[in-house]
């Protein structure tokens, strides 16, 4: 398979890169600043694209790769892949579901605690060397707070289960009510936000869910409410979120994703009631290794004519 051209969209994982290099003819897209020239020379040999949450395969790229057979994403989110185009051209698509569910859910809980209890801010305070006896600021209790989850898929369910161990009542919004779930359902995100203390974004990013957290939802969440985003940056109207935080119309936010990563609105840097993370939801050594093996497994299966491990299209 060493002659099969595999295009890696961006740097994502050293182990994955090494293995792809060993097994295929790996082309690193980021090494070619002149993409038109690159595609002219290499388009005909590229039969697979490996993407992730940051870069995938849009219509333009797909059109310029006539021999593309499979797009394997090093992520569970598929928003960077033009799925309709892939379907149209019979291009297979795979992702990495399930293996990262626990890590993302753990991070969501960690973000909730870090934001409400101001753990990074406390750490900054101590490292600043100014801790004086008797100095304290109150932070917000996490246990028992109502958690409202947008999206009750694998990740939403895993977050709910963890929050229950802290006696948090759970409510959710989903396109339709899920049968057999004991949590409180709200038919709109605004109603969910009005009735919870901590709003968590845990759904897929699609045309419908873009800016699902907008000014109305932020107003409904209110000055005592917290927003936690472990979905995708475009789920939230970022300028609205920033002004709500800067103006004190929200109690705080824990954000792992942003509309234009790696850019993070700098107005947030001076706030102690926000926690800002560089998209680390699935960022553990163990899980990234399993995700990489899944990408490799899917590619091998495809080129050996075997059933794909985790097909989406």
């Amino acid at each position: 398979m060493e002659s099969i051209g595999v295009l890696m969209a961006c740097p994502m994982n050293a182990y994955l890169e090494d293995e792809l290099c060993k097994r295929f003819n790996l082309l690193r897209f980021w090494n070619f600043p002149d993409t038109t020239e690159f595609l002219k020379r290499n388009a005909n040999s590229i039969r697979a694209v490996v993407g992730n949450a940051a870069a995938g395969a849009d219509a333009k790229l797909i059109e310029s790769l006539p021999d593309l057979e499979i797009v394997a994403s090093f992520s569970v989110g598929l928003d960077k892949i033009d799925l309709a185009k892939c379907k149209e051209k019979g291009i297979r698509v795979t992702n990495t579901p399930d293996v990262l569910t626990d890590d993302v859910a753990d991070l969501a809980i960690g973000l909730m605690l870090a934001t409400l209890r101001r753990i990074p801010a406390s750490d900054r305070y101590v490292r600043g060397g100014t801790w004086k006896k008797g100095d304290f600021k109150l932070t917000t209790r996490f246990s028992g707070k109502t958690v409202g989850i947008i999206g009750m898929g694998r990740i939403g369910t895993a977050i709910a289960k963890r929050a229950e161990a802290f006696d948090c009542p759970i409510s959710y919004y989903s396109r339709s009510k899920k049968p057999g779930i004991k949590y409180t359902y709200y038919p709109s995100v605004v109603e969910l936000a009005s009735n919870c203390h901590i709003l968590v974004v845990a759904c897929t990013l699609t045309e419908e869910t873009r800016h699902i957290v907008d000014r109305k939802v932020i107003d409904a969440l209110g000055p005592n409410g917290f927003l936690i985003n472990i979905g995708r940056g475009p789920h939230v109207d970022e300028p609205e979120l920033v002004s709500a935080l800067v103006e004190g119309r929200l109690a705080g936010a824990g954000l792992d994703v942003f509309e234009n990563e790696p850019h993070v609105p700098e107005e947030l840097f001076k706030l102690d009631n926000v926690v800002l993370l560089p998209h680390v939801g699935s960022g553990t050594v163990e899980t990234r290794r399993v995700m990489a093996d899944l990408v490799l497994g899917n590619l091998e299966a495809h080129f050996l004519g075997k059933p794909l491990l985790t097909p989406v299209v």
């Binding site: 626990d102 753990d106 800002l276 560089p278 163990e286």
Partner: protein, 326 residues
Amino acid sequence: MAEASEAAPNLPNVLLLKPLAFPHVEAECSRNFLLLKAYDSPQPIHLFLSTHATSVSALLCSAGTPVTTETLRLLPCLRLIVTTSVGLDELDLSECRRRGIAVSNPGAIFADDVADLAVGLLIDVVRKISAADRYVRRGLWRVEGDHPLGNRLGDMKVGIVGLGNIGFKVAKRLEGLGCRILYNSRKKKSFVSYPYHSNICDLASRSDVLVICCALTDQTRRMINDRVLSLLGKDGVIVNVGRGAIVDEEELVRFLLEGEIAGAGLDVFENEPYVPKELFELDNIVLSPHRAVFTPEALQDLEELVVGNLKAFFSSQPLLSQVVFE
């Protein structure tokens, strides 16, 4: 004091050696009782105590106020100590027991918040939350790319040191995250099925993480020493929400600086507010200024409990929360 005597001259006396760590609790108490504030008096402490000895049956204190044998001997009429600290290591408990002085502490009202902070610190250390937040705020995500990866929490073996109210709540929360729980405690607890280890060294050698939730006593002072840290190992993590003195702090700092343990989340230190400065350079630790209990809900509960205990005492009712001497 003038205010209180104008309002109701016959309020019962309560002695305060030092200001309470919680000003709002002190304020509420001064509305209900006549606070004799030793710290406000120009008299030296021994003289102040002798002057008021016969009128003092209750003493109110916080962490940071030692109540020694000597102090107790100057208060022959003392029958109750109310402390806002769950930790009792600064009170002469054997003298209290000998004299039949009741002790009331916050009991379990802080347990949720302390447990939440312990879990928050652990997730932070293992998933590098504070470190990654620092990375973003310094503009490094744009310049240097992805932050170094953390580790999976699930399947980690977490050794809880002290399975009291706090330890039990920590265990329950971490089980929800898929961790496996083991524990060490003075006695085995019949209401849990977690594997019990009577020996802290056994616990350390079988754990990936140690979460310290126990009280500071003569038995637990410096219990987490270099031997325990070595047994925890290079990939091990320590979280301390108990008392700084339970850990040999100098050894812990050495282990961290030499990479002999993987990380630590600390809310307490041996000599607060002093924190060893060598720790400030490390990315694999999370530091918190002893504020595990500082939420509005906990402080409101504390205020009600302290005032409630004092009122119960002065009306000869049973205390709301009384420490049982073993």
